[in-house]
Assembly symmetry: C2
Homo-oligomer: 120 residues x 2
DNA sequence: ATTACTATTTAGTAATACTAAGTATAGCGC
DNA sequence: GCGCTATACTTAGTATTACTAAATAGTAAT
């Protein structure tokens, strides 16, 4: 089932960074505390490469912080202006996409359309 | 944006087959008429390999049909019992997953939670 | 000094979808 | 018959995204 995750992880990480400057390890733990049961457990090898991609794409910027009280040096990430714009587009697209998938599901015999669909 | 599609195409094809026995080319055209603007245009090289995977997994079964009035021979697919069960699980999982993603979006400043969420 | 926790990096692999081409059948007009 | 179009299926090669698994390194407590 993990395949559903593909593609939306980038958007989810952008969502988390949009809430305020943060760093990789914290993103990892927040990702795994909010929805790990559905998303599956994400490890370092999943999260860090996405951050590098997002930075290469100019959607987030990075600030080095020296070693904190406990642990190694951190790389704090924040959204760029372009990242904020892109995140808005991604969210709009995600919702259109989810709606489209729900339309396909709604035509399956025995699968009622989700309650929210008729309430929009 | 196309990356959202990854993983859910299998489920969408199962949804379409669940509506009744059908064949690859028709799946292709139905896929592209229902939501191509959001999903992106799917080609043969995308759809047929998925059908082979689904068949290998025992979720659909195949029946050959001789050349029809117009065009080549068709391979009609139908859900197996296992396919029907799996589709139900996939739909449940998809909805839990979409809900989880919406939760992450809901925490983004400026992004209101979708209306349906509060109505469930 | 060993353990535990924090924090980042990366090499190799797997899964999924896309591109782009090819094969083959049938009907139609000429 | 021949080319054209539409139908229908196949496949090789590539790209993208995520996962596995391991390594590196700093801090602090025992």
């Amino acid at each position: 089932m993990r395949q559903f995750k593909k593609g939306s992880l980038e958007m989810i990480l952008l969502c988390l960074i949009a809430q305020g400057e943060t760093y990789g390890y914290e993103l990892l733990t927040r990702l795994n505390s909010g929805g790990a049961s559905v998303l599956g457990y994400a490890r370092e090898g999943t999260v860090y490469p996405i951050l590098y991609r997002l930075q290469d794409a100019g959607l987030i910027r990075c600030r080095m912080a020296p070693s904190a009280a406990n642990g190694g040096a951190k790389k704090y990430y924040a959204l760029t202006e372009r990242g904020r714009e892109t995140l808005g587009e991604l969210i709009a697209f995600w919702r259109a996409y989810a709606r489209c998938v729900e339309d396909f599901i709604g035509e399956v015999p025995g699968e009622e359309t989700a309650a929210w669909k008729s309430s929009i």
